[in-house]
């Protein structure tokens, strides 16, 4: 019975995804500018959150450095924006973040997880201080002006990054590496004894996730005409993906997407009405989610669904 349902499910889902993708790709043609801008923000947070979940989800190593990699991407865009075409700049932004993450990983992922958390937590503040010092003492000016690009271009670039990320995340998850990452999260010592080079795998996956965060930063920099260290290295960008992933649920790939979409929209909605309250509210939601929603929204829905479908059979 299940197998029949399973066979007809697959092409249906793929078809649905394709339809959604096409409508998203063509949306600048029919949707309002405001919607396109909002969608860009949503995809930005989806990219950061899914990247974050790609590493921290299976392994359990909680990275608090998302803002650092995003900021590196922003600054790459700011520094190279005039010199090179945007696609190159985005790739370089991703590459620099990748290298930074390799360094961080090589340093901390050989040790207990707590060092990783502490190091990544301070990384944002470190980069902020360093670049501030650099700008005051070496370049002489604070902040940079970024060459602007049309909203539609930014949207498409972010959409393409999103698609590439989803393909990467899907491939990793369903490959032997995804299995290995999961086993590292389950029991790292046992994984090492099954022949898995745990440090290398953790570090490379962490670096891949950082790559996409850097690329996203490089793209978004073009939306702000002026950036400075405080704008680029904002702890909120480390906080939001964690909140979105926890709220959405980290078990499946679409959990973080739902979380990101919900919270980006919420942020847009609240930032205009309650500019000082929205961070407070998000903080409260984070605490509540950790207390009461350990498996996230997706987990909750799965549990409810299970309960409903089980009770159906219980009656017979």
């Amino acid at each position: 019975m299940d197998r029949v349902r399973g066979i007809s499910k697959r092409p249906f889902l793929l078809g649905l995804l394709l339809l959604i993708l096409i409508s998203l790709a063509t949306s600048p043609l029919y949707a309002a500018q405001y919607t396109v801008i909002l969608l860009t923000s949503i995809f930005m947070y989806i990219v950061i959150t899914v990247s974050w979940t790609m590493f921290s989800g299976p392994t359990g190593y909680i990275s608090l450095a998302s803002a650092a990699f995003f900021g590196v991407g922003i600054y790459t865009s700011a520094i190279l924006g005039r010199a090179l075409p945007l696609p190159f700049v985005i790739c370089i932004g991703g590459l620099v973040s990748f290298c930074l993450a390799l360094l961080v990983g090589a340093l901390t992922l050989r040790l207990r997880g707590i060092y990783f958390v502490m190091f990544t937590f301070g990384l944002v503040e470190l980069l902020l201080h360093f670049i501030l010092w650099w700008e005051v003492n070496i370049t002489g000016t604070t902040g940079r002006v970024v060459p602007t690009v049309s909203n539609t271009t930014v949207y498409y670039l972010m959409l393409i990054t999103f698609v590439i990320l989803m393909l990467t995340a899907y491939f990793i998850r369903h490959s032997k590496f995804g299995l290995a990452l999961q086993s590292i999260g389950e029991y790292e010592e046992a994984a090492a004894h099954r022949g898995i080079n745990v440090t290398a795998l953790k570090t490379i996956t962490f670096a891949i996730s950082a790559l996409f965060m850097g690329a996203a930063g490089a793209i978004m920099a073009t939306r702000w005409t002026y950036i400075d260290p405080r704008i680029a290295f904002n702890p909120l960008v480390s906080f939001m993906p964690v909140l979105m992933a926890i709220f959405g649920g980290m078990g499946q790939l679409y959990g973080p997407i739902i979380g990101a979409a919900v919270f980006t929209y919420l942020e847009e909605f609240l930032i205009t009405r309650f500019p000082y309250y929205y961070m407070l509210i998000f903080g409260i939601i984070m605490v509540v989610a950790i207390l009461y929603l350990p498996d996230g929204l997706v987990g909750l829905i799965q549990k409810l669904w299970k309960r409903i479908s089980e009770s159906k059979y219980a009656d017979t």
Binding site: G122, W133, L280
Partner: protein, 289 residues
């Protein structure tokens, strides 16, 4: 020449005294209560703002206000542990799971406390002047408030050390730090002790905040930097070692003073370099197990 060295050295101790205090606080919270409180800086900020408020509104001497700011922040920390973290501990599948979820809960607290402060006091910098006159120490000039700060930091550290070493409650805390389960079996009310430890950590943060506000300007976003510094200090001193955090704080303060003398603005970078060296060579730190 000697004057300059003395200058830098004593400035280092002044900075280090504050670092030592806040690091001991974080060490209590992580080493004993097992909560990596990344919102530690926000508690420091609260201590600073309560003192500022009491001084500018009610003319209360900042050193005296420690009697209020410290305990107030202690109570907040204690209640938070009793409600939030005790509950989290009960529902966590393993100690590792609790460490992760409690840390994330602190991340949420960070934004809650910081933004409540912004809503109450506004986002801009505040400051006040207290004992700002210079004092002559062996040829070098230091602000009186800084010397007083150092004195108080040392005094608090000493009192706390005696508390841990000599009193019954202190022994219970040390037992809980070694082995919570065994301590529980020995009749120690583990939930109460852990909550007290977390509270004591917040107390140190409150005191630290007060002392900071005497010498420096404050703003609601000041906490993050201090949290990062405290994290580096507890790694330097050795995770789980409270005396290590104290020594590490003094050491790092010294480093900060030297770096500020050579190249101001790079102190956090220097701290991170030390962090990286530690991770490469001796992650267990000076006094770590």
């Amino acid at each position: 020449m000697i004057v300059r060295i003395l200058d830098v050295a004593i400035a280092g101790l002044l900075l280090g005294g504050i670092y030592a205090l806040i690091a001991v606080g974080l060490s209590m919270q992580y080493g004993v209560a097992r909560v990596l409180n990344i919102a530690h800086g926000e508690f420091i900020m609260l201590g600073a703002f309560i003192t500022w408020w009491l001084y500018t509104m009610l003319d209360i001497n900042p050193l005296v206000s420690m009697v209020i700011s410290g305990p107030l922040v202690f109570i907040i920390g204690f209640i938070l542990y009793r409600t939030l973290f005790t509950r989290l501990r009960a529902s966590s599948a393993s100690p590792a799971a609790f460490e992760g979820s409690s840390m994330l809960a602190c991340f949420g607290l960070l934004f809650i406390i910081q933004n409540v402060a912004i809503l109450i006091w506004g986002a801009d910098m505040k400051g006040y002047s207290y004992l700002a006159f210079p004092v002559n120490v062996g040829g070098a000039k230091f602000a009186a408030n800084r010397l007083v700060t150092l004195g108080f930091a040392m005094a608090i550290g000493l009192v706390f050390y005696l508390f841990l070493a000599r009193t019954r409650l202190g022994k219970a805390i040390r037992a809980a730090a070694q082995d919570p389960a065994a301590a529980g079996l020995m009749g120690v009310n583990i939930n109460q002790v852990l909550a007290l430890c977390f509270g004591f950590g917040a107390l140190m943060a409150g005191f630290g905040g007060t002392l900071i506000s005497i010498s420096y300007k404050i703003q609601p976003t000041m906490g993050l930097e201090y949290t990062v510094i405290a994290l580096i200090v507890i790694v330097l001193g050795g995770l789980g070692s409270i005396p290590g955090s104290f020594i590490g704080g003094l050491l790092l303060g010294l480093v900060g003073s030297i770096v500020t003398y050579i190249q101001p603005g790079l102190s956090l970078v220097a701290y991170y370099v030390i962090f990286m060296l530690l991770l490469l060579v001796k992650p267990t730190g000076i006094l770590g197990k």
